[in-house]
Symmetry: C2
Subunit: 308 residues, 2 copies
């Protein structure tokens, strides 16, 4: 079991979907990643920043799941990053209603001493310079650095993004972002181009269509579990990343074969996340539920066939 360092937002979200709406609830990439990774029992620590409007009970909830919040700076009199969005009826697209950076505007991440030698690092979606600063603070070279990002940073901070991409092992990115980053429509070609930028592994997230894992000439395709109802897609990508990295930190095996399992674990956990608003579902998930659904993933994808 390795330590997992997570950098990302801890935030308030107000979400509206066709099924209802919430007031400000706990959100943020690092929160979802931490909750998801915690299902593997790994010791993880979050580097983030919040205002003192962040209730202590939320941080305590993370601590109770073996997610250290020592690296979360609490700014006295400051306000926590706030995002509000409304999903369209198909739940695949959304409008951002409000983005208040608040304390996040002046975030200088500080990696706690306890995690300076973490073997696994998950860089959640944030400004690439913040992600880079975390890499630079590591006292020993991590076994694996995973980076998540989004189109926004390609638009406003491409040089910084390309710089951090040079220093990572795995990038998780959605299909449209992979196309934007590389100018290649074919995801096979896009992945190959990303290899030349630094990462040895590329994970392309396709939402309801699952995810693809690329390494050299190997490709693995993991489906998303077809769901009767998606209640709230917020945090699904982060939950995927947390499951992916959490599984790898637990098993300490970064072979392609094991990464396939990690992708399945990430997909599996993401399928829970979308069942309720925000982090609600991930806070109460049980090992039995995870095992049962893992079995469903096997049934969903496994077949036996003779070459004809």
């Amino acid at each position: 079991m390795s330590k997992l360092l997570i950098v990302g937002t801890v935030a308030f979200d107000a979400i509206e979907t066709p099924f209802g709406k919430t007031d400000k609830i706990l959100g943020g990439a690092a929160t979802y990643i931490g909750l998801s990774a915690s299902t593997f029992g790994v010791e993880s620590g979050i580097v983030s920043i919040v205002g003192d409007d962040m209730p202590q009970e939320y941080l305590q909830m993370l601590n109770d799941k073996n997610v250290s919040t020592e690296g979360i700076e609490i700014v006295k009199g400051g306000k926590t990053f706030f995002w509000s969005g409304k999903y369209h009826n198909d739940l695949n697209t959304r409008d951002t209603l409000i983005t208040e950076l608040n304390t996040l505007a002046d975030f200088n991440p500080v990696v706690p001493t306890d995690f300076e030698n973490a073997e696994f690092v998950m860089l959640g979606n944030l400004h690439p310079s913040v992600q880079m600063s975390v890499i630079e603070q590591m006292k020993s070279t991590p076994k694996l650095i995973v980076l998540d990002t989004m189109n926004f940073w390609m638009d406003v901070a491409l040089p910084e993004l390309l710089n951090v991409i040079k220093h990572i092992d795995v990038i998780t990115i959605n299909d449209e972002e992979a196309r934007q980053l590389t100018g290649e429509y074919s995801l096979v070609k896009a992945a190959r181009k990303i290899f030349t930028m630094g990462p040895k592994f590329v994970v392309i997230k396709k939402g309801e269509h699952g995810a693809l894992l690329f390494n050299d000439n190997d490709i693995f395709s993991a489906p998303a579990l077809p769901l009767e109802e998606v209640f709230d897609p917020t945090g699904a990508g982060d939950t995927f990343a947390g499951g992916f990295t959490g599984f790898l930190a637990k098993t300490q095996d970064i072979s392609f074969e094991n990464m396939k399992r990690a992708v399945i674990c990430g997909s599996n956990l993401a399928s829970f996340c979308v069942e309720k608003f925000g982090t609600e579902r991930m806070q109460i998930i049980t090992n039995d539920e995870i095992s049962t659904r893992l079995q469903q993933f096997k049934e969903l994808t496994q077949f036996e066939i003779e070459s004809n």
Copy 2:
């Protein structure tokens, strides 16, 4: 090995993609289905209609692959159905430039005596009344009737479509069409609604994202092979349907387990179809190529994992 009856268009297509354009070349749903099914060595027969502008060599090419053209009516002085389309850069969308129904406008399908007792029937995309007429001509109840259709028939002939859907076992349909037919966004709910309309099996085609097979509470997800280059998507859905039905006709086993294999075979063959213009690739495909790629499909999807 069972006989397979195929109804659908045999046509001329003129296709433009970002990679080039063709003059009138051989196309049509039944052509793609027949070529694809022929890779399993099944004896199939096409019911269709063409004008005498259809070169004898094209029909001979089908005959050489054990696809009977006895049921293709050749109208003296008539012109064959002609479709022309131009694909957009992403190859996922296209504009229809020309549709000339020609002889297809007055098509009264006649099932040849040799195929009146065929155990497998593949109803390719055509007016649902034509599809229904073929079912009515069968002398004994087929073991399996598979129907392919499209949104166009939902718009202009919904009652006739719903009627033929009552009489079939498997429907193949794309995701948007499944949503249109049922009014359900969730594909799980859409499939369940389609069960109440008649079919016991629902195959939802998702193009580059693969296909889903539904039966009662069982779901199987097959990926599409991630390709470096899609050259021409024309006929991919029909090739999928031909591979699906051809495999079932060969193995004569319509269990869910075997249908999973059939979906993989369909996906596999469709991945070849898009590599060249029109039917070009399917005309020269070899068994070795098919076996090799089937192995790639296994590597793409198979994983081993312990429940945690």
